[in-house]
Symmetry: C2
Subunit: 347 residues, 2 copies
């Protein structure tokens, strides 16, 4: 029953060995107050000898927040979120913190588990990807004292700080590009229903369409990937190929979908942009690495992570005011788009 594994040294042991008092150690280790050089080196020696590791639980119990921030997302397999996470992580590390990535898969049970866990940990704050942000799990987290920043539009989250990109504009630009190239038979490829961001992008796309072509938005067809797996995206590509008449251009809700569509088209023997033009959204790394580099609307993922994390720290430091940082999407024209074939134009 003996547990030899656990580290036993406490700050008291250090004090004893170094021959100084608790307070001095604490002051030295936390830089609260200066201590004499003699004490300092004695403490260093004792810490090293004992292998002393402060117990952050004790600090937290006294009312401090833990040195951790959460990042709540629906899907870790989307490189977009990973890149945002890298930005968050860099800021967190600089502040001596860690980030707990919470992959909810949109499952309420998992959302609840994570909100509760982060709350009990007394995390400093969290970056959440959200739609309503009034959801109960987020309220719980907020009530625990965590500083929340949502990756989403300010208008839907008036009471919280936000980091956003103008989705409507991005969709508008993507569609303008396609229309400008001469495309008039376009499909929108979306993801699982209920995603606000995607809705905004398509809203912008429809606006550009009717403004610039004078045609009705019902001329724009739509296909959705019914899930967040490779298989569902491939299926969406197949669905789109069953459309009659075939589209000449495909505007996707994100790059992961766009890349899957491109792959499927290639597998089916079609060429891009010869047979179809394709536009993505996000500009993940893989977009430029594709066999035919993807035309897409860029969101500055890493910078968004940086910004969100900085707001978390500012809020946690006592800043009262909501902050709303917004970035502009930028169309990145690469090689998956071109004018439609002449015979296609002659509908």
């Amino acid at each position: 029953m003996v547990d030899e594994r656990a580290q036993k040294a406490t700050i008291r042991d250090v004090a004893r060995l170094a021959n100084v008092s608790l307070g001095t150690i604490s002051n030295y280790l936390n830089g609260t107050k200066g201590v004499s050089a003699r004490s300092a080196s004695a403490i260093d020696a004792a810490v090293a000898e004992l292998g002393f590791i402060p117990n952050s639980g004790a600090r937290v119990m006294r009312g401090a927040r833990s040195h951790a921030i959460g990042f709540i997302i629906p899907d870790t397999t989307n490189p977009f979120f990973i890149e945002v996470a890298r930005g968050i992580e860099d800021v967190a590390i600089e502040a001596g913190h860690v980030v707990v990535t919470c992959n909810t898969l949109g499952d309420p049970d998992r959302e609840d588990h994570y909100a509760r866990s982060l709350s009990e940990m007394r995390v400093l704050g969290a970056v959440v990807t959200g739609m309503t942000a009034t959801e109960s799990h987020l309220r719980l987290l907020a009530s625990s004292g965590a500083a929340l920043v949502v990756l989403g539009t300010p208008d839907l989250n008036p009471t919280m700080s936000t980091v956003s990109v103008d989705d409507r504009q991005g969709g508008y630009d993507a569609m303008s590009h396609l229309v400008g190239l001469g495309h008039r038979r376009i499909v929108l490829v979306g993801g699982p229903a209920g995603d606000v961001q995607i809705a905004r992008r398509f809203e912008g796309a429809r606006a550009a369409w009717s403004e610039q072509t004078g045609l009705g938005v019902d001329e724009l067809r739509r296909v959705d990937a019914l899930g967040s797996t490779p298989a569902t995206r491939m299926a969406a590509a197949d669905a789109l190929l069953a459309l009659d008449p075939l589209p000449t251009a495909i505007l996707c809700a994100n790059d992961v979908i766009a890349l899957a569509v491109c792959a499927r088209l290639a597998q089916r023997g079609f060429t891009v942009p010869g047979d179809f033009s394709v536009v993505g959204y996000d500009d993940i790394d893989d977009a430029q690495l594709a066999p035919v580099p993807l035309t897409t609307v860029r969101q500055p993922q890493f910078e968004m992570g940086l910004a969100a994390a900085r707001i978390v720290f500012a809020l946690a430091a006592g800043s009262e005011e909501l902050q709303h940082v917004s970035f502009e999407p930028t169309l990145s024209v690469r090689s998956t788009t071109s004018a439609p074939r002449t015979h296609a134009l002659a509908v």
Copy 2:
């Protein structure tokens, strides 16, 4: 200076409101002992009314481990690790824990930061990707009482539990496939130096080569991606195209490299497998999603995560014995490999 943000309710407040004692609350909330139905409902009501959120720091301070496990990896942009993380996460959630993903980038400062942070948090354990595993940051973590499992070979980590896949065998199989197809001009494409896993894979590949062709291993050329970024992988592909004579087949250390190589070849106007056969390693999702589905050696990433996390919990529960779980790699032949062109055979 008033901080209204933080949640103030403690277990004492709950006790007062529910009119029961501290001990009863604790017993009820933790399921340690049964309590009367009357008490239970009174407690539930009080918890809800007060919005009480237990402070895990207090529990940890009393000697318990925190409900978190770490996952230390060199590069979050490799989908391989993300998939392993998903496995770890599923087990963690089931046990009411969270996982802290630590992206070190191979930087000793970051490794140190994370080892220290996880130690101070008193995490239950950690899954580490490691080479030597005797590295100082891992020793620190172990000394904090965390249960460690390494994703790596048992022979290099005799003192720790491991989850591994037979890299040598995987490399052997990949090479056998290529040799069997008739390829005799093959390049090995590796990653940043010092990766033990890659060394093993190539070791197996060389063994298959000499056994099956009777040729010397110096006939096998090698090119390396000098970093873990898209750009370095593209550069490796370009380097390979500068070889004279050109290879007929390319054996890559992992899928991320292989996919980048395929993309670059396509961008340069070459066809796969027409001009070059390509083999990857890992079998990440993108492998089958590529325009031409990638032939690769599969490692069961998700299952590896599951296994590693289970060992962490077993160890933390007091199991003394080291565990070594190993998986078999399996060659997944898809469409990037075929016999070399005849003219290429006639060197």
